[in-house]
Symmetry: D2
């Protein structure tokens, strides 16, 4: 494929995924196309539950929603041959090439899921003007994961074409449900990076200027997303108040005390009860209440400290009113400590690219949370190196905005830098 062809192919892929966005654990169409493409490029595939631990899968949609999506996917271009692997919502794909020549194992992570955002219908919104706006109401690739997936396929193309020049083993990880930090832990637990020496995750955009590059983005906060239920006993508030066990009193106590968890002296923390829904009538002592909670910490230690307090508070609040409770962890991510050694290599590759104007080795700008940190931690625990890179691009609007859009020229740059890094790393001996 010529460079021009590759540039166009990247745009074609990106626009296709952009039109058919799929939310976390529903990326059936996307994953099937990814799998099919990689298969034809000569990669070995591991799919669905082969690369995802069911037990560690957080915040999955319910069965009903998952089943309903199968039909949609098939109607909209999913590759039927792969659908058996993905139909329960385990939509991870790992594609490997083993050169059978000595060398390290390198893995790159690309995420595939979209957001529950309704894409702008304004005339000046380019995807709308150019005819590739999301075809799915209230669903949009507003964070750039369509680009990530396209870049993963682009990188696969270069690797496949140059397979004979490479060494070691290369793994491309296509992850579901990065939004809500839900999917990576499941893939990590399934052992996907157990054999990896060098790991690179990437993101496009996130506030870095066009054609700038960050080799090690450490500014991610550890986080936990918690769904909390209080289950009491309803009774008529006028007639038999003493027979009720009031879930709203427990919930109200929990809300106040969760927000009152003390600060941590070692760094920033956050905690928020963002939603509550409870009760079933004005004159009924409320038997249930559901809370959506999010904790964050500058380090995983700090996030764990906050999370641990939330657990105690919820249990105590339930006990106060003699009611039951449940806490579901529906998303989680760790802090991010990129390996500087690896970042330096990748930075050098970026610097050597004609189009990259400026590179930064390390950034600590807070940029939300990322569950690629699970892969990174595991690789580093095994003695490997891991980093998280950002390719700056011109954004039409910020991430998670209904008018989010990128400069598509960044796609090729990203693919070329990553390929360069792969070439470099396959001949770089890892020291353990």
């Amino acid at each position: 494929m010529t460079v021009k062809e590759l540039r166009e192919q990247l745009i074609t892929w990106r626009r296709d995924f952009h039109q058919y966005p799929e939310k976390g654990f529903l990326e059936m169409r996307t994953a099937s196309i990814v799998a099919d493409t990689l298969h034809h490029l000569g990669f070995s595939l591991q799919l669905g539950k082969e690369v995802m631990s069911e037990a560690e899968c957080m915040g999955k949609p319910n069965d009903e929603e998952t089943k309903a999506h199968i039909e949609w996917a098939l109607d909209n271009g999913a590759q039927e041959a792969y659908m058996d692997h993905f139909s329960e919502g385990y939509t991870g794909v790992v594609a490997s090439i083993d050169t059978n020549r000595p060398g390290p194992t390198i893995a790159l992570r690309f995420d595939m899921d979209a957001l529950p955002i309704h894409e702008s219908e304004e005339a000046n919104h380019i995807p709308n003007k150019e005819g590739y706006r999301s075809k799915v109401p209230n669903t949009m690739h507003a964070c750039g994961h369509d680009s990530h997936t396209a870049m993963g396929l682009g990188l696969a193309t270069l690797i496949a074409e140059n397979k004979e020049k490479l060494q070691g083993k290369i793994k491309l990880i296509f992850q579901p449900a990065e939004e809500g930090t839900r999917g990576a832990k499941s893939m990590t637990s399934a052992g996907v990076v157990d054999d990896v020496d060098y790991f690179i995750a990437t993101h496009i955009g996130t506030g870095v200027p066009h054609h700038h590059f960050v080799a090690a983005n450490n500014g991610f906060l550890a986080t936990s997303k918690l769904d909390i239920q209080f289950d009491g006993i309803a009774s008529h508030a006028g007639g038999k108040p003493e027979e009720g066990k009031n879930a709203l009193l427990a919930a109200a106590s929990a809300i106040l005390n969760i927000h009152a968890i003390p600060r941590h002296s070692k760094g920033s923390s956050r905690v928020n009860v963002g939603e509550i829904h409870g009760g079933s009538g004005r004159n009924i002592i409320a038997s249930h209440a559901n809370l959506l909670v999010e904790t964050r910490g500058e380090t995983s230690e700090i996030n764990d400290y906050i999370k641990d307090h939330v657990f105690s508070i919820v249990e105590g609040a339930a006990n106060m009113h003699q009611i039951n409770y449940g806490i579901d962890v529906v998303g989680e991510a760790l802090d991010c400590k990129c390996s500087v050694e690896l970042a330096e290599i990748v930075q050098k590759c970026a610097d050597s690219h004609a189009v990259i104007e400026k590179s930064i080795l390390e950034s600590n700008e807070s940029a939300g949370s990322e569950d690629a940190t699970y892969f990174m931690e595991k690789v580093q625990q095994n003695g490997g190196l891991a980093t998280y890179c950002v390719f700056g691009t011109e954004l039409a609007a910020g991430h998670h905005n209904e008018k989010f859009d990128i400069d598509e020229s960044s796609l090729l740059v990203g693919v070329e830098v990553l390929y360069q890094a792969v070439k470099e790393l396959v001949v770089t001996e890892i020291k353990r």
Copy 2:
């Protein structure tokens, strides 16, 4: 009309209303049939806003719901000639006969609204078996107001037939929206009972045995139904927590403190936050929260004491977090102090009826709340007498239960006792 014919007509009316239940302030079909029937019986009519104060109308459905119902009503038998009066949801009807002979003014109250309950579809539920189950999903006459309306029409029939034997003036009040204690205050404020000497409200069932009769039911609690809104400012809980004004912290503080309002030494009180819905996302500082609250008191003084505290608490909780709030009073009722003098007269009438097995002068059994208490208070303030009677009947299931049903033989008994009371009262001089 023979007694047999009247008995059958009562059942026909009741079953018709039962099949076409309409919730509070939407009783367009019911009110139009009531108006049409009374018109043909020779009553003078006052309708809609003529008998309802807009300002004192509590808990009305929004315009959209009201408008949507017009069409349904017209499609399902509403008398088009009267619809102009009712189309904005002011569905009260007052029908008067002035004998032009000296004598007191007597008023009787009948309520017309249904409940948001889905009527039982079980085979053994008689309205289902006999084919007059509610035709409206999630809407049901599960409290007997269909019977009350039928009895009002039956009483009107007897009055009309015997008009020449009567004296004074007789008013039949058909009230909307008794459920939630919303409609009576509006009619009282419009002056509907300003000229009334004797006032009788009635209920069928409420736990009194079949063919028993209570002449003065005092056990109603004063109550207020409050809808509370907290309006803060949303912000990203991770990125800019200091820019939010957290409505959930205000709501949680309000919930705990409302439940902590001290007891009153003069009698029972109740207070309940029954529902809360707030927030718009896990990672967003919640900008809004809505609470449904109910207060009750053994006396109006006690209820006012509790309500006054709720208002202070809500205002204080909002101020704590620098946010706005709103409190809508969506229903209200007073305590009930029946006039014993009047109750004794009505009891005598009941005792003289062949079918009534037992009568009780006064009962203080708690029976929820009733906004007929507004009519009663106004009549008594003007020097008149007022009472609240209960006609016992065989209930298939309790009030507000999806299998609620009455013994229809009670309809005629009720009409005859009330007619007897009217006959007695028109010749009873009121002492002021």
Copy 3:
């Protein structure tokens, strides 16, 4: 002793006790004089731990305060011979006379303790004017227990003088620490009334008019007095906030939730956190907090319901913040259900007394709480009868007021009525 002599002796005793008031579990001087007097009248004595269960003794002063009082008592007229029994603060006295003639066992309860109130120093306060004001600062017989003790000794005198005319067995119970409802449970647990057929407790005053008499006062509320401690971990609020375990957050949550315990539909309840003291510095995360709590219920069932919730709330609040807690029950009383049969007998005795102007069989006027209810419950559980009588008197000011004072003419009336009741009861066969 002539009637005149007895009248004067009663006043002498009362004024002596009035000048030397002793708070609960410190009635060493009082009890030693009681014991000595009864011994000389020929009663058999059981003293201190013989008549008090240590385990069930609630709200005792600490050892230091108890020891310090011994010296004061000896310096102020305590009978040294009896002090060994009382020096640990177990100051109960039971004096018995067994006539050795067949007949029932009759017990009467008299309480001995004073209050932490500083007696009025105003000139028109009779105890001050007449020279028998309390000699102890901040300690006063402001509830009439000095009169009760005097009446007990007066009754003993009549019984001793008329021993030969009596039958059965008579027990006079002198109870410590009725204030705070602390002493009776201990004596009941020690078996003091296990053999009793008829039990009478009495109070002077409590709002009953002078020379009126109530034979069965049922208006006492069941109650529990709870001392609550939260024990967390202190840390520097600025430097190491995460190392603290905040007792004030637990205490604040407990305060709000305790007050929010739902009402009970079966009757009145009360709950109050009356005091809190917590923390040790502005910039230190508070490691401790102490709360004083009181619950009440129209019945023991209702009080237990409230108390049970307090326990859950305290435990839950502590768990929320990962801290320890303690709950000490420092006082408790049951509801009061007098035996009407017995009350009728005592009422007849009162009616036959020349000075009693009016008697009432049963009163339900709320009059605080009383731990004589423990004796009453035990007697009734064993098939005996029990009642609680009130002798009305002219009060200078209400109970627990610094100007409280009685009309001393009531003392003799009380003694004579009680003696009459004893005479009547010893020949009244108990039916079980």
Copy 4:
């Protein structure tokens, strides 16, 4: 005075102050000795209310405590001649020398107050072993202000001796009540530094190694100390609960909500309710509650944000329960932004001192709070320069520890470095 004499004099002064520690706004003995010494050295004096704004004086002891201290001071060596200025507790001293030669105005701040800590009585505690342990129970110079005062007098000595070699004007500010950050705002408001070009505050110790020096210590947190009162209405919790206005419910709501004030994204914040005392009896609805609160912020903006929320919460909590409240600001300090230009000059002076081993230009180590920041802000607002220096020393135990002690050799070093800085600054033109 020879260097040796100065070294000994510094130790003599320090040990004298150490033995007679005086808490904030009670430094009558200290201030009178300071004033007397400076007077004899030829300084012009401004004393007491001349240099302190009464309105801005925060957290002063009450009149009783202040008056009681006069006698103690006179009995223990206070200079009677100066006591009129200090007897109301305004114990500030400003001593000036005007060379009448052109040049800038330079000010240095020394604080004089001690802490409510009982000094260690252990044998190995040097002040105890050497015989200069605090003579006042529960009062101790455990933060080094005795050393600061001695250094101020030492510096004055050198200035006086070398007056003819100097230029411009030199002010020595002896501040009361730095502990609790209470005294500086009052002196600043009185205009003490309105004419100052260069301002230097110093501290000994605070974790800097022996003979190390920090020229610009920026790590102080802005802070507010708040005393909060809630005033409700007492009533009998059993008898008339509805008549009470419960201060504990307001206080509990305030505690939870104050701790729940959201974090600020721009930097660290702290908030703590450290103490609460409320209520007057178990069975009385609590009419009052007092809270001690402290807020902190990495910047004054952040501290103001937290403080503003505390005010809203307290007002709202009071309003919730229809009670009154008061908030006294009893201490306050700003953040610290040293002027680097000035710090560089002072650092050079330190570097040139033979004994200083290492100097640091800027440190951001958190070191609690300091109200010298009021002087600094005012000087900088007027276009002057200000810095806060730390002289490292060997500490026997940390600041505010009962075994706190310094290496007295640091006293002379400090004086010499400061004198060198003064010499340098009097010839340094200030640029505005």
